[in-house]
Structures are given as C-alpha cells and as structure tokens.
C-alpha cells in the first residue's frame, strides 16, 4: 500500500485552504459583532451587554422578552448582537428577590456592563440581646436569680453578651460599659488627619482644603465619597483608564465623567458601601435604610433593606449590616 499520494494531499490541502479563506472573513465578522438585520441593507456592527450577577438562577429578560436563566456555571450573562446606538431594557427577576431593571445604551463594537443588585424581599434579621436566659436565648433584661449581675462604677448593669457590648460600642463610638472591648474600626467618618502641607493631590484637584470638614467621608485608593447637603458626592481618583463602567454613559459616544452625585430628594443622613460591592451604597434616610446603585445610567435601582424611622446602621468588621431600631440592635442576614 502506498502513501497517501501527492494528488490526494494536494486536493486535501487545497480544499482546506479554500475553507480557511472562506472562514477567515466569516469568523472575523462574527468576532467583531457584525450582523445582518432584516431592516438594513448591509451588515451592522452590533454591540452587547454583559450582566454580572451574584444571585443564581435568575431570569433575564431583554426588551421585555425572556432571554435566559443564569446558573452556577454561567453566573454572568452576555447578550450579543444587539442593535447599536439605542437603549436596551434588561430586567432580572427571581422569586423572593427584589427585581433589577436597567436600560443600557449599546455602542457599536462595544459591550456595555451592568451589575445586578437583587436583595431578598424579606431580609432576615436577628436581634442582638444583652442577656441570656437559662436556655441560652437572648433576653432584654437580666433574669433574677439566674443572671450574674455586674455593674459599672456609675451603677449601669453590664450586659453579659459580649457581642451586644461590641455592637453598642460600634454605634456609640465608645464603650458605655467601661469594660475592655476589641478595637473596632468604623468604616464611616473622616479617618484621615491631614495637614495642609501633606494634602493629597486629589483633594487639591477637587478644591478641598480640609478633608476633616467633609461629612461621612469614605476614601479608597480609587474613589472618595462624602455627604454634602444631604447628597452623596463620589469622585474617581484612580487612573482614568481604569474607571468603572458606571462612570461612563452618553449617546453614540461613551463619555466618562469622574464624579457622580446621588440626590435622593430627602436628605441622606448617612451612607456606606454594601459589603462586597463597591458599586452599591447603603443609605439611611428618614423613611428607612435602602441599597442604591452608584450606577446613574437610566434609573437607579433602589432596594429596601429595613424600613422605619429614627434608624441607624453600621457595618461590622466581618461585613455584616447592623441596625439600631428604637434602642434594639439587629444583625441582617445579607
């Protein structure tokens, strides 16, 4: 039996070469997002939307039509071949969760991003009590004959639940029971003492002479935010090429602005970042505590965390949201 033979090899080679020459432009056009729409004569350079999500098994809808469900392996959703230069409505639903709706502008050849914010409809809360009963359950007052009562020098009863002391200390800013508690670093408030000589460049650029004057200042390597006249002001101070998607918007051309302002209507009393997310704020307003997207494109998704009046919240060291409601303290399962 002879080798495959020159002629047969040439035929195979030529066939594959032709396949190659045919497929190259075809695959490149697909790769670049070109698509032929029925209402257009030529190929259109489409765009896409990339939806990130931490919540599994959600239903994603595109312009009112079901698109797909996400799963453990495909947690994020890429929607491609979308008509460019227009808004596309993305809705994400899941039973038991607050829905996420966003209109995202699609640019030719580019993929716009969105980061789903979906909090449970009912967020479980656990009250943190100062004392325990015989079964180990939390109680508000010491049980006579069971609780070993200790008092401060001023005569105040010291709670036996150390966690309660820690939480109170976090809210009060100091330990009211005069017992040693671990040092807790608060995530809000001006943490930086800065003299004028060493004022960082980004403050100078923003016209801020003394950062200590800023209320509820939160600063990271890339962003600073604070409360001003009841609104949150956010500024990007990192490299412009690394600016996150939510700073960028615009018709036909994507324009990135380095500042974002959240005007709630009612004055925002306090804010912080939702643990694990640098694009979601927790805001305290007179009617309750809410999670709100930093992303200002189309409408902001606002989701309730805890409703009520005269509330306060803190973020614990381990990233849990703690609520103070009428003298009681709660930890949220978020």
């Amino acid at each position: 039996m002879k080798t495959i033979g020159d002629l047969k090899r040439k035929i195979i080679f030529t066939t594959l070469l032709l396949v190659f020459l045919f497929l190259v432009p075809f695959i490149l056009m697909i790769s670049l997002g070109y698509k032929k729409f029925d209402d257009a004569f030529s190929f259109t350079k489409t765009g896409g939307i990339y939806i990130q999500s931490k919540v599994l098994d959600t239903s994603v809808f595109l312009n009112g039509e079901y698109f797909k469900n996400n799963s453990f392996l495909t947690r994020n959703t890429l929607i491609q071949k979308l008509k460019p230069n227009q808004y596309h409505k993305i809705e994400v639903f899941k039973d038991g969760f607050q829905s996420w709706i966003k209109e995202i502008y699609v640019y030719p050849g580019l993929v716009s991003e969105g980061y789903v914010l979906m909090l449970p409809d009912i967020i479980e809360k656990t009250e943190i009590f100062p004392f325990f009963d015989k079964e180990g359950n939390g109680v508000s007052s010491p049980i006579v004959g069971f609780t070993k009562i200790a008092k401060t020098k001023s005569g105040r009863i010291i709670p036996e639940n150390q966690k309660y002391i820690d939480v109170v200390t976090l809210f009060e800013g100091e330990n009211p029971y005069e017992v040693k508690v671990p040092e807790i670093i608060k995530s809000t408030g001006a943490g930086t003492t800065t003299d004028e000589k060493n004022l960082p460049e980004h403050y100078v650029k923003l016209g801020i002479n003394d950062p200590e004057d800023l209320f509820n200042l939160i600063e990271s390597s890339y962003e600073i935010s604070w409360l001003e006249n009841g609104n949150i002001t956010l500024n990007w101070i990192g490299k412009i090429e690394n600016i996150p998607f939510y700073y960028c918007d615009g018709f036909e051309e994507k324009i990135c602005k380095e500042d974002i302002i959240l005007d709630w209507g009612d004055p925002i009393l306090k804010f912080d970042y939702l643990p694990g997310r640098n694009d979601v704020w927790i805001v305290l307003v007179s009617s309750g505590i809410y999670a709100v997207e930093v992303d200002p494109r189309s409408q902001r998704n606002i989701q309730r965390i805890y409703l009520g009046e005269n509330l306060d919240f803190e973020i614990s060291e381990n990233g849990r949201i703690l609520i103070k409601d009428k003298g009681s303290y709660f930890e949220l399962a978020l």
């Binding site: 080798t3 495959i4 090899r9 594959l16 396949v19 490149l28 890429l78 491609q80």
Partner: protein, 514 residues
Amino acid sequence: MNYKETPYFHVAHARDLRGKDKILYRFLEIIPGIFVWGTFALMIILSFYLPFWAAIFIIIFDLYWLLKTVYLSSHHFHNWKRLKHHKNTDWEKLLENFKYEHLYHLVLLPYYKEGMEVVEGTVKSLAESKYRKDRLIVVLASEERAGEEAQRIAEEVKEKYKDVFFDLIISTHPEGLPGEIKGKGPNITHSAERARIEILDKNNIKYEDVIVSAFDIDTVVGDQYFACLTWHFMTTEDPINASYQPVPLYNNNVWHAPALSRVAAMTSTFWQMIQQERPEKLVTFSSHSLSFKSLYDVGYWQKNMISDDSRIFWNIYFAKNGNYRVIPISYPISMDANLAETKLMTFKNIYRQHLRWMWGAAENLPYMLFAFIKIKTIPFKEKLRHIFIQGEGAWSMATNPIMILVLGWLPIILGGPEFTDTVLSYNLPKITRNLMTLATMGLILSAIIAASLLPKVPSSVKNPRKIKIFMTLQWVLVPFTIIIFGSITAIHAITKLMFGRYMGEFWVTPKFRK
C-alpha cells in the same frame, strides 16, 4: 570538493570551528532561539500595544490550527490503514518474486546498563523473525564504562543465540576515546566498524548488499520486519541513497506505564505516523535502517553529538549533494514507553527523553543551515524547502501550543479597558474555545487508533478493565503533555543552544519493566 571532506562535515557545534565559520555557525545556533523568543515577545508586545490586531491574529491562527489538525488527521488516518495493511501483509511471499539472497541485514544493538530481560527480549525477537536467519548479522554493542555486568549479559546472550544468525558478535566500545561524547553515537559507530572488519570484509560481503538496522536496545521487531524492509529496499529506486523508517510504537510495557507516559509515547508515535505520509518531511528517528555503503561512506554516525539518529540523515544527504531521502515503510516496531519506579521519576524521565529529542531537532538546524550556505550545488528551492520544513517544525512545536492554550488570553489581560470593553474581547475566548474544541475532535480518532495499536493485555496486569477505561480517558492529558513535553522541552533545548550550553552527554532513557 565533496562536503564530507570538509572540516565541518562532522561538526557538532560552533566550538568545533574556527574563525568566520565559528561566528557564522554560532549565529545559526542563535537563530532558532531568536524566532521562538521573538514570537513570544511579539505576542506580548502586540497584546499590550495593539490588542485588537493581536486578537485578530489569534483567531486566524486558531482557525489555521484547526484546519492543520484536520489535514494532519487525514494523513494519520491513511497511515493507520497502511500500517494495518503492512502488518497483515505476507512480505515473505511478496519477496518470492525477487532474488535477494545477496542481501544481508546487519543489526546493531547499542546498549548501556539495560538488564538481561531487555537485551535478550530484543535478540529473541530477531531470532523469531520469519526472515532467513543466515542473512542476519547481530552486533551486541556494549560499553566498557557500563562495567562487567553489561559484558556478562552480552556473553550470556551470545552463548544462547550464536548459532541462530549468520553471525553474532559483541563489540565493546572503549571508554574515554578523544573527540567522543558519552553516548550512543560513538558506540554504534564503533560497533559498525567492528562488524565491517570482523564479518563483512572477512566474508567478502559487499557493502552495498548490507542493510544496517540501528536499533535502540528495547526495539522488538515484528516477525516480518526484515522481509518488509527487504521488499522496500528491492523496490525502491536507487535504494542505497535512502534510509528506511519504521513506525515506533511504545508497546513493550504499555500496559504497565502510567497514563502520562502512554499519552506522551503515543503522541510521538502519531507524529511519526503522520510524517510517514509526508516522506519529503521525514528524517530518520530512533530505530531505523539504511545501506551500509552509504553509512560507511560518511564514516558512520557522528561521535561528538547527541542526536545521531537524525544527524546521520543530514550527513549522508549533504555527502550526496542532496540525493538522499527517507522511505517510510509503515511497519511497526515496538519499544519501551517511559516507566520508572515512581510516577515522579517517570515524569522526569519523559521530560529528559523529550528534551533529548528536541535537542536533536534544535542542533540539526544550524548544521543544516550551515551546510546549505556552504554547498552551492544543491538547488536553492530544495534548500528553501528543507529550511522551511525543519525550521517551521521546530518553531511550531516550541510556540504553537503555548500560543493557543496560554497566549490567547494575553490581549484580554494586557489590552486594557479600551480593548476589554469590545465585542472582540468578549468573543476571543469563546471563539478560541469553540475552535479548539473542534480541534480536539481529532483526539477521538487518536483514541481509536491508539486502541487498535495496543498489544494483548499481559497476564501480569491486575485490572485490565480499569486500565482500558483509563486508556480512553487518558487523552484529556494531551493539552498538558503537548505543552510540557512538546513546547517546554523544545523551548528548553532551543534556549540551551541559543546560549551555547551544549548537551554534552547522551542521557540514556532507563528501561524499567514490571
């Protein structure tokens, strides 16, 4: 002047030359490294500064790779059919039409410290060959430096088989001869010369009537190997100006070797099978056969370098001004897959064996380029063809798997947000994955072919069903083996050559059988 009479005919490396020749040869040693590292540097630079074009290149390259896989698979498939056909052909019967009694087969069996089981196994397979034994001459080529045990094995085997063949002699290669490396080349050359003096000349056997088979000591031939070889020798035009290449299978211990070793060995077999269908690209590899006349004319194998098996092709090719080629005989011979006492040792041995092979491919490149510069009589087109085949072969082995499996992600990592926000950036990994998934369909063919080439399960295998399942699943290791034992060893060898860190000693693959 014939090239074989020049001082650079048996050059191993640049250090063997002087003056301008040394500078030129050294430059040629650096060239493969420049191409390989230049490719990686270009990929990184392109991904950083022009990520769009880097991504376009990667997609086109992936498609090229897919179609190349289809092209090579068609050759592989055809050779599989040819191999089966040749294995089942009655070559003895075909030879009945020829007068071939004048032909002798000289079998050189160089060995070092391999045990009795390995040495005797090979001689036994020769003795069991259907070919007439009175035309087989066997040389047990031992090494003095291997010590008394190697001599004892040789004597014992000789005593047992001395009357089976036309002749069986022991040649002991002396230790520490000047100008020689510690390796197979000096030993096999010494044994060929001993056979010439002690057997061929004494019996007035013409050199052109002798076909030399230079076998690794673990080479077990099928019972019709010599008949098949003789038939090809008889039917080839100008048979003295050709080497004859069988297909090396690594079946001797395949049922005991770990999956990694099996995959690496079978990948090597498959590559040889593909090359058998592309004879213009074929260069002698491992165990092979050739005319004693051609061998004698060039002074046998080089004694100062590692890759004697492939270098002998180039030696004769240049000595004959390009009038030399390799005939693919598509007949299987069986050798040992890498197997050591532990899996880690096996892994190390596979790496070292592949490094030696890749070193061979690398060190032949400057030799070939240098000779093409010096020899004016070989047509330029022929030179270009060989340069492209050998150069592209070494370059693609070193770079392509890494480009496809690793560097394909570079534009996304280095391209910056201006690129990572594009549709192309999102599509790049998706299209690469899809094209490569299609390319791995070739693995199904590989698994089928590999299964068909396996020998019967020996009784010493405890759980054959389990091993058969593993043998089906083992192909998922291909991306790993192709990168570690293909690309990394090739880069290692080419880089060593680039920096003039020549391999000075032939690393003998240990033969270990359970």
